[in-house]
């Protein structure tokens, strides 16, 4: 078999193998992130400005994405909506992920009553239907961006906790944790240096999924009128306020839906195709 040397290795960068599908996902995610950051600089019209005499206007040279139910520019509204959808979801997923993972690792390493109390409390939280919880909190406290972020992160903490705890319990049973314990290491060192590096891969993949759920829940809340308040709107709110345009196939209702779909699908593609470290080092150096 002389092909051994002839077969060309799959391209690798810095010892990682990168999948083109993952690269596509990353490109779309980066695109939306850049849009969210720079939107105020390039939108042609203000979000609240009525620029069209017609409502549910079609795509035209002046109005790239048509106009909405009041004749406002959809292009500007979607670009600005990215700020809310991406920003709120990102902060919420980071908060939920951080608290869930830290608590999960603490529960797994401590065991005993700490584990029992944490697990039962978060299980109880998990048993409340997420949309209902969001509705109740937002209806009671009123809708503002901090309230939305905190609510969303509370809803998604128990899931991250469960996932991180399940992974950590397996790692915690390994001999190297016993070795670290009898060295006299503290709880903080155990979770930071011994457990976290071993659960990081699956946990990041899980956070990617959770990000998608948060985007969808936020859009759902906005659709119900409890999310971002007018005249500002995230993508979910854009779909809701323009739902009347559905019979006319107005771009005002289709395009924000496509924006939601593109972000959630790309995040999924990205986390399913994260760069993988190439283990075969013997061919190099």
């Amino acid at each position: 078999m002389t092909r051994a040397s002839a077969s060309s290795p799959v391209s690798g960068w810095f010892g990682y193998r990168i999948n083109p599908v993952g690269l596509f996902g990353l490109a779309v995610v980066v695109f939306w992130a850049v849009v969210a950051l720079l939107a105020p600089r390039f939108i042609p019209h203000s979000v609240g400005e009525i620029v069209d005499t017609d409502y549910f206007g079609p795509i035209s040279r002046e109005l790239w994405f048509g106009s909405d139910y009041l004749g406002r520019d959809m292009f500007s509204r979607i670009m600005m909506g990215a700020r809310y959808t991406v920003g709120i979801s990102l902060v919420a997923v980071i908060l939920a992920g951080f608290s869930g993972i830290v608590l999960g690792m603490i529960a797994a390493v401590s065991g005993g009553w700490v584990d029992t109390i944490l697990s039962r409390f978060l299980d109880a939280l998990n048993s409340i239907p997420s949309k209902l919880f969001g509705l109740v909190v937002v209806a009671a406290v009123g809708s503002s961006i901090p309230v939305l972020i905190v609510t969303l992160s509370i809803i998604y903490t128990p899931g991250a906790f469960r996932f991180a705890r399940a992974l950590s319990v397996n790692i915690n049973a390994m001999d190297f944790i016993v070795v670290a314990r009898i060295r006299g290491e503290s709880l903080l060192y155990l979770i930071r240096a011994e457990i976290l590096p071993n659960i990081l891969g699956p946990v990041l993949a899980d956070l990617g999924l959770r990000f998608v759920f948060i985007v969808l829940l936020l859009s759902g809340l906005s659709f119900l009128g409890l999310g971002v308040q007018p005249p500002y709107a995230d993508w979910g709110a854009l779909v809701r306020e323009n739902i009347g345009g559905l019979p006319f196939a107005a771009p005002a209702v289709i395009l924000p839906s496509l924006a939601i779909a593109s972000l959630t699908i790309s995040v999924n593609l990205l986390i399913d195709n994260l760069p993988r470290k190439i283990r075969d080092r013997s061919s190099g150096s």
């Binding site: 078999m1 690798g12 016993v178 060295r183 590096p197 071993n198 993988r276 080092r281």
Partner: protein, 548 residues
């Protein structure tokens, strides 16, 4: 008569994750006659299991048979389509796995699983198959052959399950049976009985066997011919007598050399009676369950370790030797009795011990795979105890890591590697170097050579001896393998079911007094091919002590 199995220029290759192809088996040829037992022997990674699997036309995921022919009874398993291969598996070629416990389905009765092959291949009626299975159970000297089939896998012992796996393989009257390290996971006293049963039943049925093992002494009992493998190539092959008496290849000699027992030169006892022992354990009782009193794993054990000398603890699985080590290390919370270290009583748990006490007693675990954090480089693994106990940082720490790697004879370049990128022997050395980094006075070695190949294990033992001379360490060496303990210890404790049954010195190993010790020592296989046939064990002893 022409050979039943003909392997010609077999090549198997693996594809790595960047698409590079690596040849695992590099052109192996061998013949097996009908009814012959051929042993494939070699260290892990030598390709012995891979070759055996090709007889089934099977290559593990990631592997591919890339060339050559494997003729089983005239049929080439390499070119045969998968559906035709499936028809031969179990009927013509059968397989006995290393771990029968993992190979049985816990949710089905044993009988249903044993006769499954006959059902799949439509060989006979279920009633006939059951009758045949019972006959096989009898031939394999299983207890209660009529009833054992109705039990579930967890209701029989490990040795019995291994024999049941053999019954499962033999029920379809195969021409070739592959035994993949079938006794490696068993205790020595159990192994004797299982080997006897295998030998008797394969002789009687006249099937050809491929016996995969790394244990030369076991192979010597059962095989007609030995094939020595290394790096996917046949190094040497011949009859048992040829290999044992006149090995030609250097690797075979090394393999045999690792087998000759080395008796430990007794450490000069400098008037031990008057001095304080390093470790004194008095009446230690420990167990599991609420408060450690539900199941007693260790009962009233007393022992002492002198400074600079070694204590061996020997016993079979479940005798409590690891529990004892864990109690000494402070991992086990609840125990009764006293542990005095350097004249000071130790706290019962880690929290009650000072950092210095923790530093002085280090434990090295059996499985280096799980004892090293797979996400950290060797440098970080060795550096942590240096920072933690000695406050070393930066250059001083780097220099010390280099020194430690030198001490355990590892190249300095491995410091940047992850544990997964090291071989088994290298991992165990890193594992050991981490214990040394703490600069301990006592190291508890829990079966540290059991997972290693004979040659590698011998090298690790030599290393331990060398380090002891240089660093004046003491070891507590826990093992089920007498030859290993003999090679390094000044004193040996034999444990059975949580109790100490005898305390002996290596000089008196030949004449143990306690019946369990006698049984244990006589069960260790010897290189003599007639050992198993001539072995006479007192049946009362066997009944009383062997956990079958």
């Amino acid at each position: 008569m022409s050979a039943l199995v003909k392997i010609r220029d077999l090549r198997v290759e693996a594809t790595t994750d960047i698409g590079r192809r690596v040849e695992i088996i590099k052109g192996v040829s061998l013949d097996i006659a009908g009814g012959e037992v051929v042993a494939l022997i070699g260290e892990s990674g030598s390709g012995k299991t891979t070759i055996a699997m090709t007889l089934l036309g099977y290559a593990r995921p990631g592997l591919k048979i890339s060339g050559g022919a494997v003729l089983v009874d005239g049929v080439d398993m390499v070119t045969l389509p998968e559906n035709k291969r499936a028809r031969l598996r179990g009927a013509k070629v059968a397989y006995v796995p290393q771990s029968a416990a993992a190979a049985f389905n816990p949710a089905m009765t044993i009988m249903d699983q044993v006769i499954e092959v006959t059902r799949i291949h439509n060989l006979m009626s279920p009633a006939d198959a059951r009758a045949k299975a019972v006959n096989l159970f009898k031939a394999l000297s299983l207890p209660e052959p009529e009833q054992i089939g109705a039990r579930y896998p967890h209701q029989v012992s490990g040795g019995q399950l291994q024999r049941l796996a053999a019954a499962m393989a033999l029920i379809g009257d195969p021409k070739v049976v592959i035994f993949d390290e079938p006794t490696t996971a068993l205790d020595v006293t159990t192994q004797v009985e299982v080997l006897r049963a295998f030998k008797a039943v394969t002789r009687k049925q006249g099937v050809a066997c491929v016996y995969v093992s790394h244990d030369l002494a076991v192979v010597a009992q059962i095989a007609d011919r030995i094939v020595v493998l290394r790096g996917g190539e046949v190094q040497e092959s011949g009859t048992i007598r040829e290999i044992l008496e006149a090995p030609r290849h250097p690797y075979t000699r090394e393999l045999l050399g690792a087998f000759t027992p080395k008796i430990h030169a007794h450490a000069p006892q400098s008037d031990a009676a008057g001095r304080q022992p390093l470790l004194l354990v008095e009446q230690l009782t420990a167990g599991y369950g609420p408060g450690g009193r539900h199941v007693k794993a260790v009962e009233a054990i007393s022992l002492r370790v002198e400074r600079g000398s070694n204590l061996g603890i020997i016993g079979e699985s479940g005798c409590g030797k690891s529990t004892l080590a864990r109690a000494i290390a402070g991992i086990l919370a609840g125990y009764d009795g006293n542990i005095t270290f350097n004249g000071r009583e130790l706290g019962r748990t880690i929290k009650n011990r000072t950092r210095d006490e923790l530093r002085q007693i280090q434990i090295v675990f059996q499985h280096a795979d799980t004892a090293l954090n797979p996400a950290k480089s060797v440098e970080e693994i060795l550096g942590r105890p240096l920072t933690f106990y000695h406050g070393m940082k930066g250059k001083a720490r780097d220099a010390r890591v280099d020194e430690l790697l030198d001490l355990v004879h590892l190249p300095r370049a491995v410091r940047h590697r992850l544990p997964g990128e090291l071989s088994g022997g290298q991992k165990q050395r890193v594992n050991f170097a981490r214990a040394l980094a703490a600069e301990p006075t006592l190291i508890l070695c829990d079966e540290i050579t059991s997972a290693l190949d004979t040659v590698v294990a011998a090298a690790v033992i030599d290393l331990l001896k060398e380090l002891q001379r240089e660093l004046s360490l003491s070891y507590i060496f826990i093992s089920h393998d007498l030859s290993v303990v003999e090679a390094i210890c000044d004193e040996i404790i034999v444990m059975y079911r949580g109790r100490k049954v005898e305390e002996i010195t290596p000089a008196h190993v030949k004449a143990p007094e306690h019946p369990y010790t006698q049984l244990l020592f006589s069960s260790v296989p010897k290189l003599d091919p007639n050992w198993l046939d001539t072995l006479r064990q007192d049946p009362d002893q066997v009944r009383a002590y062997a956990l079958r």
